[in-house]
C-alpha cells in the first residue's frame, strides 16, 4: 500500500486533497501544492540538479509566482542603478535573495547560475542572503533574474553602492591579520625554543644573537600589521579620554617589543618576542570569533530595501499602464496596484473601494477598508484590489521612508551598557603600570642592573591576555549555546543587557498571538450541527482570499468549494452562494441578515445564514501562541515586570492582557508613542526588553536595552533587534536570560582568575624569577584555564514553569464531537 503524501515535495506546506499536482522528480512521482512549486521542481530536474532535494536540510520557500519585472531591467536607465560595469567588458551585480534556507539552496543557486552561458562568477552567501554575480555581455540581468525565479527564489537587485560590502571587507581583513599573527607567533616560538634549549645546552653568543634578531624580524609584521587594530583602537579611545581594552594591550605590545629590541641590541637580558606574538594571535582569534558571530545577522539596509516596492504600474492613458521603476514616479501620476500587490508610494484612492493591510504602521490585525478619496501609504499590502491611486508623496517623503529614518536614527543612538570588560580594563591598566613602576623603583635601591629586566618581566606576565580572552571567549560560547537552541544573537551586547533587564514589553499581534485569528467557538441554531456548519462555511470560504476565510477553509481541508455555485465575494462584507439549492451567506451580521432575528453578537463574529435565518455564528478570537502563557509566567517568576504595548484596539489588547494576567498595557500606540513610553520607563531607571515581530516594531526594538524579534516576523524587525528567535518559542527568552546571567557570572570568574594569576605571578616576575619560557607557559596556561571555564556555560535544563491559563482545545476537534 503506497503512502499518500500530505505535504508538498518542494515547499513542505500542506497539500489540499484533490488539488495536488504531480511531476516526476529524480525518477519518482512527487506531489506539489501549486503551479509555482511544480514549475520550480521541474526546472531543477531539467537542469540535472535533482540531487538538491537529497542535500537540502529544510524544505524550500514557496515560490512567489512569476513576475514580469525582467523588462524593467532591460532599460539602461534602470540597470544603471544596480549594475556595475567592470573593466574588461564584464558586469557585476549584488542581489538580495529571499528563500535561502540552507547551504543546499546556495549550492543549487550557484549551479543554476553557472550553467547559464556568459556567467563568469557566482558567489552565494547564505548567512547574509546575498548573491554576487559577474557576467559577460552574452547574457543580461533579466535572464539571470528569470533563472532564479524559475528555481523558486525571488531576487532583488541592490543599489550599486552596496557592492562595496563593508562586512566582507572587514571579515577578510580580520582573517589576514589573524594568519599573519599565527605564522609570526609560530616562527618566533620556533626560534625562541632554540634559544631555550640552547641555554640548557650552551649556545654561543653569536648564534643566540642571530636567533634573537630573527625573532625580532618575524615579530615586525605581527606588530605593525596584525596588531594595528589595537593601536588604532587605543588611539581612538585615548582621544575620547576613555580607557578601553585596547589601551593596555597596545601599551603592552609596544613596551615589550621596544624593550626586547633594546635587549637584542644590548645582547644581554631576555627577549619576549614569542610571548608577545602569541598574545596578539590569541587576542585576534577571540575577536575573529566574535566578529563572525556578529556578521551572521541580516543587514538593516537589505531589510529596508525589501519593504519599499521597486516597481509600479503607471497609467499611460485611461486603459493601459506600463511598468516603471518606483523611483521614476512623480507626484500626480496615476498608478495601478494589483490584487495582493504592495502600494508603491503614498497616494489618494481613485477607485471605488479596496481593502488594505496596514499592519506595517498600525499593527492592526484586521485590514482596513478604504473608499474613494482615502489615503493609502507606501508599503501597505492590497488585500482586495485592484486599485487606482493618484500619487501624492514619493521616495523619501513617504511615511515608510520616515519610519526607516526613525529606525536608522535610533540605531546610531543605541543605549549601551558599558561592557563589563571595558570597565575592568580601565582599572587594570592603572594597576599594571603602577606595578611596573614600583618594580623599577624598588630594584633601583637594591641592584639597578636588574631593574629593567624585572620590570619587563612584570609587564609580560601581567599581560591582559587571559583578561581579554575572559570576555570574548565567554560571549562566543554563549552565542554558540544560544544558537543551538534557535536563538540567534545579532549583537553580543544584547547578552549583557538581557541579564540585567527589569521590564519586558511585548507587542501583541503576531508576538503574543499567532499572526492570524482563529475560530474560538461555533454557536449553531435551528438544528444545524457544528460539522455541517463548518462544511458549508468552508465551501463558501474557499472562494475568498480574506485571511478569515482562509482560516475557515483550513479547518476543512477536504472541501474544495466545488459544491457552491454562483459564489460572489462582497468586499469587506462577506460571501454569498448556493449550496444544494440553499442560498447561503457568510459574513458580517449586517451582510448575512438582510432582516430577521439578530442574536447578540460582537462585531467580530461571522454569521452563516440561509434564506430563513441564522444557521451558525463563528466567534473569532486571536489565538495565543501555545507557549505565551508559560513564557509570561516564567518571566514574572524571574522578577521581571511584563507589559504590553500594542497598536491594536483597546478591546483586543485588554482581552489578551486579562488572559495573561498582565496589569500594565497600552493600546492604539503608534511606533513613536511606543518609543516615548520606553523612554519614560528607562528614565525611571528601568532596563527594558522589547519583543516584537512587525515592521512597526522596528523603531521600538532599536530603542530598547535589548530588542528581540521573531524570525517569522518582518525582516526589518529582525535587522533592528539584538536577538532573533528563530524557533518562535517565547519561553526560550527566559532560558536565554538564564544563559546570559550565567555568562556574566563566568566572565566575572574569569576576570577574578586573571587577577589571581597576576597577583601570584607578578611578585615572582618582579623578583626576577621568571625567565621568558616560563612567562610563555604561564600565559598559555592561564588562557587555557579561562577557555575551559567558559565551557561551563550551558543551556538550562529545566526552567520552572507555572501555567495558569490552559490552552483551549482546537475548534475542529470540538466541532467533530458536536
Amino acid at each position: 500500500m503506497s503512502v499518500t503524501p500530505t505535504t508538498c515535495w518542494h515547499c513542505g506546506e500542506a497539500l489540499l486533497i484533490g488539488r495536488a499536482l504531480h511531476s516526476h522528480i529524480a525518477g519518482e512521482s512527487r506531489a506539489m501544492c501549486c503551479e509555482g512549486c511544480r514549475a520550480a521542481a521541474e526546472w531543477i530536474e531539467q537542469l540535472g540538479l535533482a540531487d538538491f532535494y537529497r542535500l537540502r536540510a529544510r524544505s524550500n520557500a514557496k515560490p512567489a509566482g512569476r513576475t514580469t519585472n525582467s523588462d524593467l531591467w532591460r532599460r539602461p536607465e534602470n540597470a544603471r542603478h544596480v549594475v556595475r560595469d567592470l573593466s574588461d567588458g564584464q558586469h557585476e551585480v549584488l542581489l538580495a535573495i529571499a528563500g535561502i534556507r540552507c547551504s543546499a539552496c546556495a549550492w543549487l543557486i550557484e549551479r543554476v547560475l553557472t550553467a547559464l552561458p556568459g556567467v563568469v562568477a557566482v558567489q552565494v552567501s547564505p548567512s547574509s542572503q546575498r548573491i554576487r554575480i559577474i557576467w559577460r555581455d552574452s547574457t543580461d540581468l533579466p535572464t539571470l533574474l528569470g533563472a532564479l525565479e524559475r528555481s523558486g527564489y525571488s531576487a532583488m537587485p541592490l543599489d550599486v553602492h552596496q557592492l562595496h560590502d563593508a562586512r566582507r571587507a572587514e571579515s577578510r581583513d580580520a582573517l589576514k591579520r589573524l594568519l599573519v599573527a599565527g605564522f609570526g607567533a609560530m616562527q618566533a616560538m620556533m626560534y625562541a625554543t632554540a634559544v631555550y634549549l640552547g641555554s640548557v645546552d650552551s649556545l654561543d653568543a653569536s648564534t643566540r644573537g642571530l636567533l634573537r634578531w630573527l625573532q625580532f624580524l618575524v615579530a615586525i609584521p605581527v606588530v605593525f600589521y596584525a596588531a594595528r587594530t589595537f593601536f588604532v583602537g587605543a588611539g581612538r579611545s585615548l582621544r575620547a579620554r576613555q580607557l578601553n581594552m585596547d589601551v593596555p594591550i597596545a601599551c603592552a605590545i609596544a613596551v615589550v617589543c621596544i624593550a626586547s629590541l633594546f635587549e637584542t641590541l644590548r645582547n644581554g637580558g631576555e627577549v619576549y618576542f614569542d610571548s608577545i606574538t602569541m598574545f596578539v594571535f590569541l587576542l585576534l582569534a577571540g575577536r575573529y570569533l566574535e566578529m563572525r558571530a556578529r556578521h551572521h545577522a541580516g543587514e538593516l539596509t537589505d531589510a529596508l530595501a525589501r519593504l519599499a516596492p521597486a516597481y509600479a504600474d503607471r497609467y499611460l492613458d485611461e486603459r493601459r499602464f506600463e511598468r516603471v521603476a518606483a523611483h521614476e514616479l512623480r507626484v500626480g501620476d496615476c498608478v495601478h496596484v494589483g490584487d495582493g500587490a504592495i502600494v508603491p508610494a503614498d497616494g489618494v484612492l481613485l477607485s471605488e473601494h479596496c481593502r488594505v493591510d496596514e499592519a506595517l504602521f498600525t499593527g492592526e490585525s484586521a485590514a482596513v477598508i478604504k473608499r474613494r478619496g482615502d489615503r493609502l501609504v507606501a508599503g501597505s499590502a492590497l488585500e482586495d484590489g485592484p486599485a487606482k491611486l493618484r500619487i501624492e508623496r514619493i521616495g523619501a517623503d513617504t511615511a515608510l521612508a520616515c519610519m526607516a529614518r526613525l529606525v536608522a536614527d535610533a540605531q546610531t543612538r543605541r543605549p549601551h551598557l558599558q561592557s563589563a570588560g571595558d570597565r575592568a580594563a580601565s582599572r587594570f591598566v592603572a594597576r599594571v603600570l603602577s606595578l611596573a613602576a614600583f618594580t623599577i623603583i624598588a630594584w633601583c635601591f637594591v641592584d639597578p642592573s636588574r631593574a629593567f629586566p624585572a620590570a619587563l618581566a612584570v609587564l609580560v606576565v601581567s599581560c591582559p591576555c587571559a583578561f581579554a580572552l575572559a570576555v570574548s571567549a565567554a560571549f562566543t560560547r554563549a552565542l554558540a549555546t544560544l544558537a543551538q537552541h534557535g536563538i540567534l544573537v545579532a549583537r553580543p551586547d544584547g547578552i549583557e543587557s538581557l541579564a540585567g533587564v527589569t521590564h519586558a514589553v511585548f507587542d501583541k499581534t503576531g508576538t503574543l498571538t499567532q499572526p492570524s485569528a482563529a475560530i474560538a467557538d461555533i454557536d449553531t441554531f435551528r438544528g444545524c450541527s457544528k460539522s455541517e456548519a463548518l462544511q458549508l462555511a468552508a465551501s463558501l470560504a474557499r472562494h475568498s482570499r480574506h485571511p478569515i476565510a482562509r482560516v475557515i477553509a483550513a479547518l476543512e481541508p477536504r472541501i474544495d468549494g466545488s459544491e457552491a455555485h454562483g459564489v460572489m465575494v462582497h468586499t469587506g462584507l462577506g460571501i454569498s452562494g448556493r449550496i444544494s439549492g440553499r442560498a447561503l451567506r457568510l459574513g458580517r451580521s449586517d451582510f448575512a441578515l438582510g432582516r430577521g432575528h439578530v442574536p447578540a453578537a460582537s462585531e467580530d463574529d461571522l454569521l452563516l445564514t440561509d434564506e430563513h435565518g441564522v444557521l451558525a455564528a463563528f466567534h473569532l478570537r486571536e489565538q495565543l501562541r501555545p507557549d505565551t502563557a508559560s513564557a509570561v509566567d516564567t518571566l514574572r517568576s524571574q522578577g521581571l515586570s511584563v507589559l504590553i504595548a500594542s497598536g491594536d484596539s483597546a478591546t483586543k489588547v485588554r482581552a489578551t492582557a486579562e488572559r495573561l494576567r498582565i496589569a500594565d498595557w497600552r493600546a492604539r500606540l503608534s511606533p513613536s508613542q511606543k518609543l516615548d513610553w520606553l523612554r519614560d520607563l528607562r528614565g525611571k531607571g528601568a532596563r527594558v526588553l522589547v519583543v516584537g515581530d512587525g515592521v512597526n516594531d522596528a523603531p521600538v526594538l532599536t530603542g530598547a536595552d535589548v530588542g528581540i524579534a521573531l524570525a517569522e516576523g518582518a525582516e526589518l524587525a529582525q535587522a533592528s533587534s539584538d536577538i532573533v528567535l528563530s524557533n518562535a518559542r517565547l519561553d526560550s527568552i527566559a532560558s536565554a536570560r538564564v544563559v546570559a546571567q550565567q555568562t556574566l557570572a563566568i566572565v566575572q570568574q574569569n576576570q577574578r582568575w586573571a587577577v589571581l594569576y597576576n597577583v601570584m605571578a607578578v611578585p615572582l616576575a618582579a623578583l626576577g624569577f621568571v625567565p621568558p619560557w616560563l612567562a610563555a607557559i604561564g600565559m598559555s596556561v592561564s588562557s587555557l584555564a579561562v577557555v575551559l571555564n567558559t565551557l561551563r556555560i550551558r543551556w538550562p535544563d529545566a526552567i520552572t514553569r507555572t501555567s495558569t491559563t490552559a490552552a483551549s482545545p482546537s475548534i475542529a476537534q470540538r466541532a467533530r464531537t458536536a
Partner: protein, 56 residues
Amino acid sequence: MNILLFMIPLSLLLLAGAVAAFFWAVDHAQFDDLDTPGLVPLDDAPKQIASPGEPK
C-alpha cells in the same frame, strides 16, 4: 652550524610565499563561503546539464 645560514633564509622565503598565497586566496573569495563546498562531494556523477533556454 653553517647550514643554518642557508636554512634560515630559505625558511623565511617559504614563509613569505605561504603568506602571499594565503593573501591571494582571501582576496579571491576562497574563504568567503565555507559551508557550500562541503556539499559538492555528495553529488553523484555529473549528469548532462541541459542548457537553460529563455523561459517562456
